[in-house]
Structure formats: structure tokens, C-alpha cells
């Protein structure tokens, strides 16, 4: 089992003919993901690599292929439209990889997606992978193996680091979700924790947060009040100076709010195991699984 994506995922790639879109589509197909369609306006009726039909819009892709999940690789100024189009066309899960989407665009996209009952992961995220089942986004397939751990993170390469260490230690994953580093994203920690709690295959959760905002504190509350499964957490940005955006648009300490210290405290108060270093996940998770 897994969360959000699995063997039944039928994926449409928005921006399939672009540099990133084409590269990662090939990787997804190689991984065994069921890529049923691509969308690039103006390239309808062509095919991608002779195998995947391309459509001018998501509506046609859904009608002709039954796609139920979309991944977005379009440039930032077009990303809001791409998300809304996918949701309006009836896609249930939209994963937006694009980095640099203006936050004011997201203030319009977020309620649009919610009101239609769809799920958005991202933007500015590495996507979702359910090892040995499907890969939607850019998380490298070879660093994952199937197993009992759910992984959720605001980061990309830091997630790879931790997942790779788990894998090398023989600890596999049900699903890894990168929720993205932006101030407003479609899916938060709680959405993922709640899904992992319901997923019978997931036995423990690894959570990687970072400075900025209060998502981690709310996640800690959720763990304390609603979760039976063990959670191990990490916060990046202990050494980040206040008021500076640390790469991710959302990774910024505003005034005195959003510091690593307050997040770690919230984790401890909620009984979440705290990984001080990324490598500490292996032993902490192993202990929770036994």
C-alpha cells in the first residue's frame, strides 16, 4: 500500500515537451509509472517518444485516456493556470514541480482546488514516489526501496539524503512526499500524516521540516492528538539568520516566528523523536519499527 499514488495511477504530464518535462517523463516511464498522456498546447496529435499521446489541453487528455493524476513542469508564470486547468478537467491529484510560482497566484489557486475537492502537491516540490509502484515528479527512483516508512518533507535533496540512508540501511518506504518549500502549498504535513496514519502498510513516519511558518508546530499538534504511529522529525535551518530567505521562498524567520528552536520544542512536546543530524533518522526509525 501507499498514499496518493500507486499502480493504478494514470499520469498526464503538463509540459511534456519541455526540457524538464521530457527528461523526467522518460525517467518516470522507466520506473514503471503508467504515463498515459502529455499536454503541450499546439502539439496535440503528436506523440512523446512514439509512445505517449500528446494533447492540446488537459480536458482532451482526460477524455481520451482517463488520466487521474497530473504532474506539472510548465514555467512559473503559467503554473497557476496549469493547476487550475487540471483540476477543472477533473484530475484528482495535481503535483506541481515548478519553482518560482508567485505566492499571490497561489492565493487564488488554493481555494479553487479546495472547492473542487482535488489535491494539489507543491508547487516548488520534488513530487511523490511510491517505491516499486509509481513516481510522479523528480525524486530519483534508485534511492528508494519499498518498505514500512512514510516520508514527508519540505525539501528536495535533503529528502533524498535521508531516504538514501534509510534505503542503504535496508529500511524501505511506502511513499515519499515532497510538499514543497513555498509559503502557500496545496498539501501540508498534516494531510500527509493523516494519510500515513490511515495507510495500513505505513508503520512509522519520517518528517523533514525547516524554518519559517508554523506548519511543523501544527503537525506536532496533530501527531500528539491524532496519531498512533511513531514519527521522527528533523528541522533544517538552526543556523539560518532571521529575515533572510534561505533558498526556499517559505524558509524565512519573520520577526521572532518560525525559528528552528521553537519547532524542535514543539516536536519534543508532541513525543516526536528528534533527529539532530540527518543521519540520525536511521537509528531512530529502526528503533521505532521494532
Amino acid at each position: 500500500m501507499s498514499i496518493f499514488i500507486n499502480k493504478d495511477t494514470k499520469l498526464v504530464v503538463q509540459g511534456i515537451t519541455g526540457r524538464d518535462g521530457s527528461f523526467h517523463t522518460k525517467q518516470a516511464i522507466e520506473y514503471g509509472t503508467n504515463v498515459v498522456a502529455g499536454v503541450t498546447p499546439g502539439k496535440g496529435r503528436q506523440t512523446f517518444e512514439g509512445a505517449v499521446p500528446i494533447f492540446n489541453n488537459v480536458y482532451d487528455a482526460v477524455a481520451k485516456t482517463g488520466a487521474n493524476t497530473s504532474v506539472i513542469y510548465v514555467p512559473p508564470m503559467g503554473a497557476a493556470d496549469a493547476i487550475m486547468e487540471a483540476v477543472d478537467a477533473g484530475i484528482a491529484l495535481v503535483v506541481c514541480i515548478t519553482e518560482g510560482v508567485p505566492v499571490l497566484d497561489m492565493t487564488k489557486v488554493y481555494p479553487f482546488v479546495k472547492e473542487r475537492g482535488a489535491r494539489l502537491v507543491g508547487p516548488n516540490c520534488p513530487g511523490v514516489i511510491s517505491p516499486a509502484q509509481a513516481k510522479v515528479g523528480i525524486i530519483p527512483g534508485r534511492i528508494c526501496i519499498p518498505g514500512p516508512v512514510g516520508v514527508v518533507s519540505r525539501s528536495g535533496t535533503l529528502t533524498y539524503e535521508v531516504v538514501y540512508q534509510l534505503t542503504r540501511a535496508g529500511i524501505g518506504q511506502t511513499t515519499c512526499v515532497g510538499i514543497g518549500g513555498d509559503p502557500i502549498n496545496g498539501t501540508n504535513f498534516i494531510d500527509c500524516l493523516s494519510a500515513f496514519e490511515k495507510d495500513p502498510s505505513t508503520k512509522a513516519v519520517a518528517l523533514m521540516g525547516e524554518i519559517g511558518g508554523t506548519d511543523e508546530q501544527e503537525a506536532a499538534d496533530f501527531v500528539k492528538n491524532h496519531m498512533t504511529k511513531p514519527v521522527v522529525g528533523f528541522i533544517a535551518g538552526q543556523t539560518a539568520p532571521p529575515g533572510r530567505r534561505m533558498g526556499h521562498a517559505g524558509a524565512i524567520i519573520s520577526g521572532s516566528a518560525g525559528t528552528a528552536a521553537e519547532k524542535v520544542e514543539a516536536f519534543k512536546a508532541a513525543g516526536i523523536g528528534v533527529a539532530v543530524r540527518p543521519m540520525d533518522f536511521v537509528e531512530l526509525i529502526r528503533a521505532k519499527l521494532h
Binding site: T107, E161, Y164, G181, A236, A240, R245, A251
Partner: protein, 381 residues
């Protein structure tokens, strides 16, 4: 991106917000001439990207042009939170009846812009929020519908009993909201919004922070960027498409990905060292980025050791290895380098590095420990 007070006020004025007459001076003589032209008492205000300008002595009331010259002499060149004041705004001093706070900020929890208004203006709003939250009205706006008239009126009457003032305030809320949306702001505030004894509202101070992600579609806002107020190395890095933040330590970090970059800095600290910077070379494997990253980091004389931490997902580690070799051939390193890389094409990368006299490890923990020790001991790695 931050813009200066005078720029924010000009933007707001473009949407109809009343502001006091003002002009920019870069010399005391200019400040005096502007004060003379206005012919009334003025304020001389440091234009620098830092809060607490008033407390630092960067904002002064001046009765005469000679006074303005004297105050400008003191303020120009002054350091406020490490930034040198290069410009002052000389602006007509408003008659103050009462002061209100009006701000709008993108709220992460509500996922909307939220207005914050308070009749307790002129001071730190975070303090008001912490001590007397009942004095603030929070009003979230659904950007799909914009700020509705009734919402603007609600805020107007929250601030003023007087109907005329309340209506003026409502109009200013609409203008502020329009400026906020049109400029791609993450924050815009008027503090204080002054009611004069004559019953007119005027924005005496203004602040705007622009979402960096908006700059591609707002060339006119990007043009307001004041590079003199940023560290030269950060400007250089931005022009090379690198995300770089200078810090005070001596371990120069080159990492791919923001989360891993933060985690690397934290680990440096954990092992008793101090990071010299945050640097994310991003996801692409362009060797040119590595060359630029090394140039920027080695320009910092504090750096005693360079630490590479690369997790190759999309980034090909052999590209990074080639970048290191190319960069160091052109400009031999004067400080030791510790390289950690793992992931995509790791074997090829390791071979490139060893063939060129570098050693590399695949373990993050080990590499960070070594970099910290090297920076402390100054020994070659």
C-alpha cells in the same frame, strides 16, 4: 526584494494614496536646497533596508533648511544595522492629530493576504499584536474577489469614529490593496497613517516587500532594486543564478538544494564550526555554476576551508567534479577543499577528482567533520 520608503510611497501615490511632498538627497547641500524649496519644517529620513531607523537616529525633524543640512550631514554615511546610509528622504513634516497602522501581508496559515489595521499606530505592530491583540482588526481577503467595499468600510470604521475620516480610510485601503496586488507584494504597510488636525489622512511612512517570484513580470519593480544596499557577493551570486547568503563563519559551503544546504550549515555548527555562507547551486548540473560558486566563496577572506556537499539526483555529480577541476585549474585554491558527493554518476565523479589530485568522500557526516577540523587547524585536507 525590499524597496526603500521613498519608492514604496511613490508606488502607493501612483494608486492615489496621499503622501507628504518629498524628495531624495544624497548630499547635505541637496537636503538643504529641498528644505528651502518646501519652505516648511521637514523630516530627514535615512533610506536604508533596515527596521528601527528612528531608534538608530536615522530620522530627524528639522525646522529650518540649515537644520536639514546639519541633520543630513549626520545621517548620510551613518551605519544602521551594518548598512551605510547613502540617501535621505527630505519630506514635509505632517501635522499629527492621530496615528494609525495599516498593513497587508500574505498570511501562510490563512493562505490569503490579510489586512491588519490598528488605531495604535506609529509603533511596532508586533508589539501591539503580542500585548493588546484586541486593538488590531484582522481582515483576510479572497484575492479572487478582491477587497470588497464593505470590507474596506469595516476597516475605516474600526479606525475612526468620524464618518469623513472612515470613508477616507476605506478609500486608502482600496488603494493600498490595488498597489499590493499590482506590484506583487508579500507585504505592504502604511505606518503611521496620520490624521491631521484638519481632518485629512496622509501616509507618512510606507513599506513594501516584493515577492521575488513576481519580478519576472514586473520589470518596473525590478528596476527599483538598490544593489548598493546588498552585499556585493550576494549581487554577484544572483547574477550567476545562485542563491547565496553571506554569514560570518569560516567554512564555505557549496551545496545543491536549499534544505540540504541548511542541513549542511547546521551540521557544521553541530561539529563546532561556523558556516561562512548559505549557497545553493540548484538542481541543474551546469559546471559553470560550480566555477562561479567557487569564485564567490573564495573572495571571502574569512573562509578557511571549502566544503562541497552534493547529493546527485538530477544534478550529475560528474558535472560538479568537472566544475571543481575547471575552476581550480583556472584559479588555484588558496584554502583547502573537502568534497562530499554521492548519487548520480558518483563513480565517474570520484575518478575525475582522484585523477586530478582531489580526494572525496561519499559520507556527509565525515566530510563535515573534516571540513570543520580543517578550518580550525588551517591544515590542507
Amino acid at each position: 526584494m525590499n524597496i526603500h520608503e521613498y519608492q514604496a510611497k511613490e508606488l502607493l501615490h501612483g494608486f492615489g494614496v496621499p503622501i507628504p511632498n518629498g524628495k531624495i538627497a544624497t548630499t547635505p547641500a541637496e537636503a538643504e536646497a529641498i528644505a528651502k524649496e518646501f519652505g516648511v519644517a521637514v523630516m530627514v529620513k535615512a533610506q536604508v533596508h533596515a527596521g528601527g531607523r528612528g531608534k538608530a537616529g536615522g530620522v530627524k525633524f528639522c525646522k529650518t533648511p540649515a537644520d536639514a543640512r546639519e541633520k543630513a550631514t549626520a545621517i548620510l554615511g551613518m551605519q544602521i544595522k551594518g548598512l551605510t546610509v547613502e540617501k535621505v528622504l527630505v519630506t514635509v513634516a505632517a501635522d499629527i492629530g492621530s496615528e494609525a497602522y495599516v498593513g497587508i501581508i500574505v498570511d501562510r496559515q490563512r493562505k490569503k493576504p490579510v489586512f491588519m489595521v490598528s488605531a495604535a499606530g506609529g509603533i511596532d505592530i508586533e508589539q501591539v499584536a503580542a500585548q493588546t491583540p484586541e486593538k488590531i482588526l484582522y481582515l483576510p481577503v479572497d484575492t479572487r474577489y478582491g477587497l470588497r467595499g464593505y470590507e474596506a468600510m469595516r476597516m475605516g470604521f474600526f479606525l475612526y469614529r468620524d464618518v469623513k475620516l472612515a470613508k477616507q480610510a476605506a478609500k486608502i485601503m482600496q488603494q493600498l490593496y490595488s498597489a499590493f496586488m499590482a506590484s506583487g507584494c508579500s507585504l505592504a504597510e502604511i505606518n503611521p497613517l496620520v490624521a491631521t488636525p484638519a481632518g485629512e489622512l496622509i501616509a507618512v511612512d510606507g513599506k513594501m516587500v516584493i515577492d521575488d517570484n513576481e519580478l519576472d513580470r514586473h520589470a518596473e519593480i525590478e528596476a527599483l532594486r538598490d544593489v548598493s544596499s546588498e552585499a556585493a557577493s550576494e549581487v554577484d551570486a544572483r547574477n550567476c543564478n545562485l542563491t547565496f547568503i553571506k554569514l560570518d563563519g569560516n567554512v564555505g559551503c557549496v551545496v545543491n538544494g536549499a534544505g540540504l544546504a541548511m542541513a549542511t550549515m547546521d551540521l557544521v555548527k553541530y561539529y563546532g564550526g561556523e558556516p561562512a555562507n548559505f549557497l545553493d547551486i540548484g538542481g541543474s548540473s551546469n559546471p559553470e555554476k560550480v566555477v562561479n560558486a567557487l569564485r564567490i566563496i573564495t573572495a571571502d577572506a574569512n573562509v578557511k576551508c571549502i566544503l562541497f556537499n552534493i547529493f546527485g539526483g538530477i544534478t550529475r555529480t560528474d558535472d560538479v567534479a568537472n566544475g571543481i577541476v575547471t575552476a581550480t585549474k583556472a584559479n588555484p585554491l588558496k584554502v583547502p577543499i573537502v568534497i562530499r558527493l554521492t548519487g548520480t554518476n558518483e563513480e565517474i565523479a570520484m575518478k575525475i577528482l582522484t585523477d586530478n589530485g582531489f580526494s572525496a568522500s561519499a559520507d556527509m557526516d565525515e566530510a563535515v567533520k573534516k571540513a570543520v577540523a580543517t578550518a580550525k587547524g588551517g591544515k590542507a585536507a
